[in-house]
């Protein structure tokens, strides 16, 4: 029996407040993380993701307090990511009450971190976030494997980006997803930088390619502007969960409405 497709509101947190990045840049204030967490949980969210985008190191400790308060009030799982550089950072977040930690740049810089986290806390705690973007500079010399795609007679591959999408790595996202699985990741949170902030829908091509490459759950992120985008990604790919932010924060839609819509369209979702 297949699992319910998970609907995951994402909350970007800066110094204890929820904000949402558009193309990883401009942000608007959308509220208190604990209040939003409670609201989403009551509306039937299957899980929550908090991304700590706090730049200053001193203010980072506020996140631990937020995690603790969230863990106290909600009865669904939640993941915390952003700024986790080393084992101790991940441990602090998990012990504050998070169910999973998501690592991104740190995983690329030090892939063994994935294995270390897995061996101490278990695979289920380790989410590797992959930010991928189309790169049209195709390198045929094959020093590093690139999985080539073609559209409108242009060739491209998906490159893993780090530091919030600012820096390229030269690593192919599909190869990286296989590697993180073998290193011990329990889940992949896949963000398309091309789609993120556009509200034009998920990056079906990227999501499908990653889902076909790994045997761990994948969460699709980036581009959701309406419930129909969630329907599309569940219909066209084998993805396990869809993450969205702005459609929930600004009351464009609510989690319960989205799930009702998905159920009516034949997608298996959890409705209590």
């Amino acid at each position: 029996m297949p699992l319910a497709k998970r609907i995951i509101p994402c909350l970007d947190v800066d110094a204890g407040r929820v904000v949402k990045g558009v193309h990883f840049a401009k942000v608007k204030d959308a509220g208190d993380p604990v209040e939003l967490a409670k609201r989403y949980s009551q509306q039937g969210a299957d899980e929550l993701v908090f991304l700590d985008i706090t730049a200053s190191q001193q203010k980072r400790d506020t996140m631990k307090g937020v995690v603790r308060e969230v863990a106290r009030v909600i009865d669904i799982p939640f993941t915390v990511g952003g700024g986790i550089k080393k084992l101790e950072d991940a441990r602090d977040i998990l012990l504050s009450g998070a169910d999973k930690v998501s690592i991104n740049t740190a995983a690329v810089k030090d892939p063994q971190l994935i294995t270390q986290l897995m061996s101490i806390f278990g695979k289920q705690c380790v989410v590797v976030a992959i930010d991928a973007k189309r790169n049209y500079q195709v390198n045929k010399d094959k020093k590093r494997k690139q999985n080539i795609f073609k559209a409108d007679r242009r060739e491209y591959w998906f490159e893993v980006k780090i530091y919030g999408g600012m820096e390229g790595t030269g690593i192919d996202a599909i190869e990286w997803s296989k590697r993180v699985e073998s290193l011990g990741a329990g889940e992949i949170l896949l963000t398309s930088i091309d789609a993120d902030g556009t509200e034009n829908g998920y990056d079906i091509e990227l999501v499908d390619a990653i889902c076909k490459s790994v045997n761990i759950p994948v969460i699709a992120s980036g581009g959701c502007g309406s419930p129909s985008h969630m329907f599309q990604v569940f219909k066209d790919t084998d993805v396990d969960a869809a993450l969205a932010a702005s459609i929930f924060h600004y009351d464009k839609s609510t989690v319960d409405k989205v799930k009702k819509y998905l159920m009516e369209n034949g997608i298996k979702v959890r409705i209590e």
Partner: protein, 269 residues
């Protein structure tokens, strides 16, 4: 590089410190306890029949293997009516508590290592009828052995723990699945829980009990997974009730009610 034992121990969580939270007391001093009972008695005078005031709730212990987050579980027990929730590393003086929870975080061998010196106390607690709930790994530990580790389990239930079939399904089994309740059996944990409700699973192994009659509910994920096992006051759940929304909360309250009944029985003796 997998952390060596020294690093592993350094990362283990200090008992009753960080995880339990400095802001919550873990082992409640007797004086404070008495004050609370007095307060509650005062309240009872005004609102009779209320049974969810703090001091009337059961005292619960969570056994900590030292390997991860049990704050959510502690919070869920508190939210649903436990008078106090203590995080313990030894099963000594278990009679201070009305119920015991084996949490669901960590790996089989380290978890077994942390509890095996107390196996006799654990068996005595079962014989004494203290309600015990093993969650996920905490349930798997009740069996003879597991494919996750090389050490013997607690051998309370006959049977073994096997890996989920990787070739058929994505592993870990992580997400919301339906609970298929065996309605011909009477489960106290599942009182008031509807057949087919959604519960949250995170696991890579599943129990295969020899005695099928202890299985109160199962879920289907490539194989039929025993999701709730129950024998007298001993309960095992493969999913995480503390993360399973409203349905999970009902089960936690049912467990706490069992603990409370045990408390009353013991007081009467």
């Amino acid at each position: 590089m997998i952390p060596n034992e020294k690093e592993y121990l350094a990362l283990r969580v200090p008992c009753d410190a960080k995880m339990a939270g400095a802001e919550t007391t873990t082992a409640e001093p007797a004086a404070e306890s008495n004050r609370r009972i007095k307060r509650a008695e005062g309240k009872r005078g005004k609102i009779s029949g209320r049974d969810n005031t703090d001091a009337e709730g059961p005292k619960i212990a969570i056994f900590d293997y030292g390997a991860g987050n049990i704050f959510s579980l502690k919070s869920a027990l508190e939210r649903n009516g436990a008078a106090s929730v203590s995080v313990i590393r030894s099963l000594q003086n278990l009679n201070r508590f009305n119920g015991l929870v084996l949490p669901g975080v960590g790996n089989f061998d380290p978890a077994i290592m942390s509890i095996r010196a107390d196996r006799k106390r654990f068996v005595n607690a079962i014989d004494d009828g203290i309600p015990i709930m093993g969650i996920c790994l905490g349930m798997e530990m009740l069996f003879d052995k597991s494919e996750e580790g090389s050490l013997d389990g607690l051998k309370i239930f006959d049977g073994k723990v096997m890996a989920l079939p990787k070739t058929k399904v994505k592993v870990p089994h992580m997400g919301w699945n339906n609970l298929e309740i065996n309605i011909s059996r009477r489960s106290r944990l599942l009182e008031g829980v509807g057949n087919g409700v959604w519960v949250y699973f995170v696991h890579s192994y599943h129990a295969v009990p020899e005695d099928e009659s202890i299985v109160m509910a199962s879920s289907n994920y490539g194989v039929s997974i025993p999701a709730v096992i129950e024998r007298d006051n001993l309960i095992g759940v493969q999913f995480h009730p503390e993360k399973s929304g409203t349905s999970g909360a009902i089960m936690i309250r049912n467990f706490l009610r069992m603990c409370k009944e045990q408390k009353i029985t013991r007081a009467a003796e």
